[in-house]
Amino acid sequence: MTRLNGRFTLRRGGFLLDTAFDSAGPGVTALCGPSGAGKTSLLRCLAGLEMPEAGTLSVGGEVWFDAERGVSVPPQRRSIGYVTQEPSLFAHLSVEDNLLYGYKRLAPSARKTTLEDVVDGLGLKSLLPRRVTNLSGGERQRVAIGRALLRSPQVLLLDEPVSALDVAGRADVLRYLRLVLERFAVRSVYVSHDLREAARLANEMLWMEGGKVVAQGNARDVLTDVHLPFAELDEAESLLDGVIEGHDEQMGLTRIRCANQALWLTQVEAPVGSSHRVQIAARDVSLALSAPGAVSILNVLEAKVSDLVVAPRQPAQMIVRLDVAGHPLLARITRKSALALQLQTGTPVWALVKSVALAE
């Protein structure tokens, strides 16, 4: 899969982007961080829309930018798909002509997909003859994604593609996005300030702060690193990959095997044997030193404390990283409880998980 690596120094007003990065993929790399961290600037440098003062960029072994050697491939000659928060569709063209804009400008030998495939993948069939001016926000964004995919890009760059949408539009676009990213197996970089949203799609995660990539790795590991700032966020969560084992129709529950243990969740529409990613919010995980007897919580996992810190900005809270059969799981408890349980690295515990949700 296409590897992206390089470094950029870019000054824009008072803001300085000054970072190195190396993202091997495969699949989706989430680029997260607080607003103003430089995520969009980094993405624009990847697209060639900003010209850094210094740095290099190589994509899949091809040099796209090298300030010292004076190499700078313009955006139109980079194999990219670029989707922005506000889809910039061409108002004078129909949906179909918007979709084909980049496709037509691609040598036939470089076309790896067809209009039919993309239209099918994004559910755009009924929209094709319409004018883009009377589409809903979600529909526009689907057209923009389709237009970018029809470019057969080496890298698809997605800059907060759902954050300008209402809740329904967001769910709609994310659902299609997940489908097409899998179907076309596109290497992509997904910028988002919403960690949960990014986590649902990503294999790899880069975390940016103050114009720098400060953490990078497998999404599962980065999310659960107690030393990184987002383990402290309210929405901190862990991701586990699992396979659906069965449904309990009577109780309305689904059983999924994750980290070598069975987890129950509210019944989902998914066939037995299908792979899914589940997310568990850190605040929904409680800890006990011994196997609990009668509790209302269904999911009790055997685990071991692998790391713990006091939440830097909320000193009453303790963030604990657990090891569940080799898979990391984040728990947030009060410092008082942690002291009472005498938790330290290596302590065997039982994790009581209040709620498990499919990451979709």
């Binding site: 060639g48 139109q76 990219i80 922005t84 804009y101 400008r105 970018a148």
Partner: protein, 224 residues
């Protein structure tokens, strides 16, 4: 009286206005695009030059053009080698009109070009369109109302010009005697009915053109 009215000046004016408008759209478009993109440091100098004809009395412009293009002027001499006379000729009128009406083409175009969303041009670039391709496939279709306005203004403004034409073209019937000059002649010779006929015609024509322009402008605004 009306039967005797010579319409040659009207035909000449219309021809001059049409030729001028076409040339101006061709020259003014790249200039307006360059000004709208706004990256060069000498942009403000060029802008000032383009607006100059708006503030200068047409006679000043006409006088300098006469100097420049006349038989002893630097450009006039060059062209006389090709056996083309620039002053007191239709060609001279076209050159004068183009310079005189330049701001009326460049400004409407610059205005619409500046409104072409940058994000759309960037999107086009990421979709494989080079600079020229972006201009024709994104900027031009988004700026049609501006082209209409620019063309109409250049045409109408040229129809109404007097000072530059008088200085540069003189008063040769069928060659440089345009509508405004003919009206002036009629008035000088106290032929008021003829002056009336031509003047009223020009007023009515200009009004209709401007009304149509504003009508289409408000329509395109409502549509977007």
């Amino acid at each position: 009286m009306n039967a005797a009215l010579d319409l040659t000046p009207l035909a000449l004016s219309l021809r001059l206005a049409a030729v001028t408008a076409v040339i101006l759209l061709i020259l003014g478009t790249p200039l307006a695009w360059w000004l709208a993109q706004g990256r060069s440091r000498v942009r403000f100098l060029v802008e000032a030059l383009v607006v100059l004809p708006v503030v200068l009395p047409p006679t000043v412009l006409g006088f300098y053009l006469l100097q420049l293009l006349g038989a002893n002027g630097p450009l006039g001499r060059l062209w006389s080698l090709l056996d083309v006379r620039l002053v007191f000729s239709f060609t001279g009128l076209v050159i004068g009109s183009v310079i005189f009406s330049l701001p009326f083409v460049v400004y409407p175009l610059k205005g619409v070009f500046e409104k072409v969303p940058r994000a759309q041009l960037e999107a086009a670039a990421t979709l494989g369109a080079g600079p020229l391709d972006r201009f024709f496939s994104v900027a031009v279709p988004a700026s049609l109302s501006g082209f209409l306005a620019a063309g109409v203004l250049a045409f109408a403004h040229t129809l109404g010009e007097f000072g530059v034409v008088l200085m540069l073209g003189g008063n040769i019937p069928g060659e440089t005697q345009v509508l405004s000059i003919a009206i002036y002649n009629h008035v000088e010779q106290l032929q008021y009915p003829a002056a009336h006929a031509l003047s009223a015609g020009l007023v009515a024509f200009s009004f209709v053109v401007l009304a149509v322009l504003h009508f289409t402008h408000s329509r395109t605004k409502a549509a977007t």
